[in-house]
Symmetry: C4
């Protein structure tokens, strides 16, 4: 049985809004003993990786939400499998604060930064995989699309999403070589999205 | 006095979305001293029970939400008692992160894992009991149902929910024998829901 | 300028849903050293005040939400002062997890339980005061009421709310005599609400 | 491609509601050893900066939400850049609990209070900058405004917002001279908003 997407979209919006707002809980106030010895400015400066991880994950979840918002404009119905696939997508969205905290904590540590950035990338890779699954399930044969969804726009989204898992997968593997290159790609991918894109419908 | 269900459904959706997203806060970043001695990969591996508890509870709350979403399609009105019963249901939903954290922390500890898994199961049992209460109150004599709710679908949901407390109750009691069997049943019940079900309306 | 209440109601619902779901974060997993010495069952039993405080505050916030939901059925418009008064109401709602945590932590401690329960009651008292302010502002001269709001229902709500600050104020002061009597009144007031009330419109 | 603002507004409301409700998590229960030596009343009194920071940030986020709510009444469409600008606004809204926690922790410490209050002000300054960006983008040439948005109201909002970054910027710089003057201005700006304003449309 198919049905409208209103309540599913609202539930997903809720999870995105909560995950993006919870990120700040991972930025810890410097403890009094550190502040007493080096001062608050320097103690705050030492937390650079927390701010960077917060900003990157905020951008990533914000873009995920905008993407979700975008594809749901074309989707008019929902069914059991579509809900399950969306829950899979939300699982990896809701999990992101954990690898974000790993990166925030262990990016300054040369011995521990590789696992942190690999897991961060793997989480984004899984998200991209589930975006494709959600979209393909809805768009294949126009299964759940609105009757008036423009097929050229649908094909554009399909092509655009196709590159997501490849790019995130490559960035994840590159973290074994250099965490900075890997994070740079993640930031670049977020930045590219922010740029206006004439061809984006 | 009866009324529409829009704001009640939105409130319940909010609690489900928050509870499911808060689960990640229970996965702790490994502390620096552990990471320094065994490395981050191994320190992360030692947290296997956190990931498992997160994934299981995410699936359980996601399914609860989907179920709630599902039965509200048949319900057209709300009243005082129906709101109270829904608050009871939400209480046990909002409580679930606590037994989840207990399982995450104490599943590796043979001396403490039984109480953790028993409480986890007891929480799910209470949720299943309240699902039945919410549904029976609404469906008895079609008290709060939409006029066009198909009685065969209503009866299907009634039958399906009937088994919930029995299965969760049995899984809870089995935890005294083996926590692995108990958790296996919980995972199986979640997995069964994920499978498409031809007979589900 | 007046306007509809849809987005205000949704924002308030969000705060209620988040506050009620955050309560569980105050229930801490017993630490491993305690569990190692007395076992998990006993360590969990020692947390009785956490479960009680959780259940009471869950009921209180749930009832607050139901009340807010109830009075907004009569209110058709919003204005600047009405929004400010609602923000005041939300402030004390969002603050409740803190005195809840105080009661959870210090109710077992005879030397510290009085301040904890007094503050808990004072928080509820302020909530009741703001409920009256919100309602009076909307209902005075039917300022923001829907044209079809039944005046007898409006007068019923006005009378019912009038007793809130008196009862919560009395319960708060009684905490100086006995915290158990004070908490008993809070539980009783919540329980009374749960009962169906024939005269409630 | 432009579209409606409903889902964007709902997402923003979610972030505001969560950020405002998370603030309470920064108010810590006094630890047992402090309570044992000075009693709970005094231990709670020593947390004055936590309550002040909570109240100020609650008022600030509440006013931000009311402002956002207010300007979205004039805005009828959304596009890619508008969504990005709103995400920028939300980033600084969602970040506010961190400088709030800094002020709560370090306002009593003469050696550390200046950085805490400077960062708090800088956060509010960035929020005011993004409010202007969001509004100017929508209102410039009536790009995204509803056809019936009264141009005098639009111009009023433009003038009112113009002063935001100046006032918050000045308050931030004044924190280097006196944190009390800086926080006083923040409280005053919040208080001014609360007052009814005859000229506000």
């Amino acid at each position: 049985m198919t049905e409208g997407t209103g309540r599913l979209a609202a539930f997903c919006d809720g999870v995105y809004a909560i995950a993006i707002t919870l990120l700040v809980l991972e930025i810890r106030v410097p403890p009094p003993d550190v502040v007493a010895s080096v001062g608050l400015w320097r103690a705050l400066g030492a937390r650079w990786s927390s701010y960077g991880a917060f900003a990157l994950s905020f951008a990533v979840i914000g873009i995920m939400w905008a993407n979700h918002h975008n594809i749901f404009r074309y989707i008019g119905r929902s069914d059991h499998i579509f809900i399950i696939l969306n829950l899979g997508l939300l699982l990896f969205t809701a999990f992101l604060p954990f690898p974000t905290a790993l990166v925030a904590t262990y990016l300054p540590d040369p011995a521990a930064r590789t696992p942190a950035v690999v897991l961060y990338g793997a989480n984004l890779f899984m998200t991209a995989v589930f975006y494709n699954a959600v979209w393909h399930y809805a768009a294949r044969g126009r299964r759940l699309l609105k009757p008036d969804a423009d097929q050229r726009h649908v094909d554009f989204v399909t092509r655009e999403y196709f590159f997501g898992p490849i790019l995130y997968g490559a960035a994840t593997l590159l973290a074994f070589v250099s965490v900075w290159v890997s994070l740079g790609i993640h930031a670049l991918l977020a930045g590219l999205y922010v740029l206006p894109n004439k061809s984006r419908p």
